[in-house]
Amino acid sequence: MYSHGSESLIKQAREIQESELQKFYSRLLKLLQAKEFGHETIDSLQRLHLILSATKYTRTLPTELQRRLLSLLSSPVEQLQVLSSAVLRETLPLSGQELNYNQDNSHTAALLLSQAGSRADLSSLCTQLIRSLENRQSDPPNHSLTHTLPIVNAILTHSPECLTEEHVTLLSKKLVDWLRYASITQGVGASSGGFFTGPRSRQPVPIAELDGTVSGDFFTVLCVGQGFTEDQWMNVFSFSMLRHWLLTYHSVPSGVPITDTDDRSEFDSSVVSMVSATSSSSRLLSPKERVREKAFQYCLRLIEQSDRKAHKRTDTDLQKACLVEAVCILDCVCVEDTALVYRTFPCVKALFGRLSSDLTFARVLLPIAQFYLNHGEMAAVDCESVWKLVFSQFPAELFNDPFLAHELLRFLRLNHENLLLRVPQYTRSFPNLLKFLAWDSPAVVDDFVDLLPSLVTVETAVELLHTLLDLPCLSATLVLQLRSTSSPISEPSGRGLMSLDAFRNPALRGLFLYLLRTEAGSGDTIDRLSVLHELLAEAADWPRVVQCAQTVPVLLHIFFNTVLKVADENLLTHLMLVMLERSSLLLKLPTYIKEIHRVFSCHLLRLCKLHPSLVVNQSHELLEFAGTTANVYSKEEIFTHVVWALGEYLSVSCDSRCSVKLITSCFETLEAVLFEITSSSPPPGAARPAPRVVTTLMSALAKLASRSHDLIPRVSLFLSKLRTASRGGSVAWCSDEEDLVAIVTRGEELWSLLKTPGVAQSVLTPPAHVTTPQWHRDTNLSMPLQLRTLTSLTHTQ
């Protein structure tokens, strides 16, 4: 599809020499000054466009050429209009260029829009547009008005205040006319003629519904005919921008972007709008209210029309899109005028009943859920079945629909505060919601970065942690689930899919079913997790699983950042133990385990820093971890951090329950490990420990010794052994001579520090006010005091 030819064309266009370019310009100008335009002119214009658009830097055209192109904008040949508009959009406007909106020309308008340099430009374009609408003459050529509304919509998107109050009123009236009072007879069809000629054909034929029956009500986008009148086209264009119009001008009940406050005719006041719902036909409504009322009627009609069986596939798709739009507009209108809720709810409820059992309508059910969330409480309607669909069914069965995932997650993102208040199953549904992430991580991880904090609660935090760690397993399971349904059971999965066999094995079903659960609360994790990991070992190189694994560290960081704000000490203890336990219980993906260990280390440290007494509390578990020499090789990162935490926080100043006995037993445990790793080479297959492990162990030992001075001689014993061993030059446990020297030097430093136990104690176990200095706020450390002290020391009496 993308060929060498295209690539070289672009290259040529970019690298065209200035002289050649000028020659091209003059040639083109000559062509454009001729009376007739042929293929050569069109091709040359097209080449000019390519030359201008191929580079991101702007080229300026010769003035004469640019003027000629401007005049081409009003050429009767559409190709010339299109090309000149496209070319002029790629270059800068001429200074003093006066371009006025030509009402018959959509391409000129496109140029004006793209060249608008300020809101003032847009305002003037707007005024011209609206004026052309007002001055409409009868019998226009086809579609000359139709591009007005899209341009207004474009202006609304960027700068709604460009429309004055007058404009809004005028357009409101027009919208009402087009939406509600468009012709209900068919227009002259492009394919008229043929069989039917003569007076009979002149009889107006009524419009039809999508299923062929004759239409009995006003014209909508779901009505068909052989041809269409202009106001029917405007009906389509009006409905297409209706939601945006309502969102821009009707989102605040009584607010309208006022630019012209002097014009007070036909304004609605909030008093009037309260009465509007009940007596819409009996008194004069303001234009705004009329738009609201007509929009309401239009949407109800669309919902009814969508129940008909359309003949064509594209029309069925359109019906779905119309349902989504209709429900969204009804929601918007009900937010503005809450009295309409009572008129709307029966219809929406009936629609929900009609569609809730059909998963192909899932994307229509999401706006309905939004409607229920916004207005359900007011109408005192039971929303249970809606939430069951959204939280239990959709994620479980439609996790692989990228558009549904996007829309559902967007719904959650926009409404999470409301959901937290009103829908208790939201925070329990994370095992289900995470299926979207497990299936298509790159597409939705951004949404989960925003959503995850709202899913963290104190009750479910531990289960959530386990679930996050097993996301790659969930990913593999979902792949297996889909493969299992698509390939027949009898076919042996001879292509090496042992995991598929395991998935289908009834004895192992429970493991997979746990991962596929839809709600939290049935247990933090399963006992036979290691079995599950083994069964899924071959999934370690499936691209989907690998992509999923890459997102877990980020989510873990977010999880810990959130949970540390709300957790009490109990929960923190529990989380710490989970981290220690799971550090060896992870699916074996190459970099996954390392990354998770890194995240754990970071947050273990944060935990201990926040609650130093945790270290004393859980000293038994921590010592068990630190005392297992195998952990040095398999979990180096975490081991280092645990040892550091022990050294730092196992002291009386952190927790008064810390006894000499505890310090001694910790010392002995760490000493044993240090001896072991520095007296022999690592076990086969394991790498040599990084120097940091050894120095951390030494520092920890020194810190502990400084708190219990009886241990100091033992430290000196080890350090002298180390000195002796290193004099040999190289050791089995350290490959680099420089590293060995650094380690020994560190040892020497610690030893010289420990020679004066009192100093060692204040250096290695500093009291809190030293580690968290307050400088000028602290009377012990304040500058004036320091200066005074220095002065009195240096001045002799």
Partner: protein
């Protein structure tokens, strides 16, 4: 409103780094947001154009990466369709949607819907409140017309040399970025006009 429509490469291009995408056609609708935002008001027209081009390039890169990851995950082999098999190529295409946060690159949050047809991606960048069902249908329709009328499954470069056809197509089916609720009759009427234009 649709902010822009792009046709760009999603396959590796030798002249570019692996992350970049070559843009074959881009059309931004509506006024340039840089002209209207406070902080970017001081830019000249030239700088604004450059900024807009850069924003479009960012979108193309994001979509290219999304297409790559999606194809890698699904593990399906790419089917090489030949001219005449447009419907097959479209059926086999990957599709998805990328969330573009506020500021990355447009000042408000947007959603980029994409269709990956072999080595090219067709992208529609929409406002988040837009009707995505309708946008999806419109994107499929636009892609089909582009594939057919510009013979994109072949080795030609008509997408570059006949970009005015895409402009005309967009002016009917997506005028100034407006998504339209077109039933088959309205669509037929517009498509007739498009075909008449292409025949010139």
């Amino acid at each position: 409103m649709v902010r822009c429509f792009l046709i760009h490469t999603v396959c590796p291009v030798s002249a570019l780094s692996s992350a970049e995408s070559r843009i074959l056609y881009s059309r931004v609708f509506g006024p340039d947001e840089a002209a209207l935002t406070e902080q970017q008001r001081g830019l000249s027209a030239e700088q604004r154009r450059l900024l807009q081009r850069e924003k479009v390039a960012v979108v193309a890169r994001q979509v290219k990466s999304a297409v790559y990851l999606c194809r890698e995950a699904s593990g399906r082999a790419l089917l090489e369709a030949v001219p005449g098999e447009e419907a097959l190529a479209l059926q086999d295409a990957n599709s998805g949607v990328v969330r573009l946060r506020a500021g990355e690159p447009f000042s408000d949050e947007t959603s980029a819907l994409w269709l990956g047809v072999q080595s090219l991606g067709f992208t529609l960048v929409c406002e988040p409140h837009e009707n995505l069902l309708l946008a999806e249908g419109t994107l499929c329709g636009l892609t089909r017309h582009c594939l057919e009328h510009l013979h994109m499954l072949g080795q030609g470069s008509e997408v570059l040399l006949r970009s005015n056809r895409i402009d005309a197509l967009l002016s009917r089916l997506l005028p100034h970025g407006q998504l339209l609720f077109l039933n088959h009759r309205f669509a037929q009427s517009l498509e007739k006009e498009v075909t008449a234009y292409m025949a010139k």
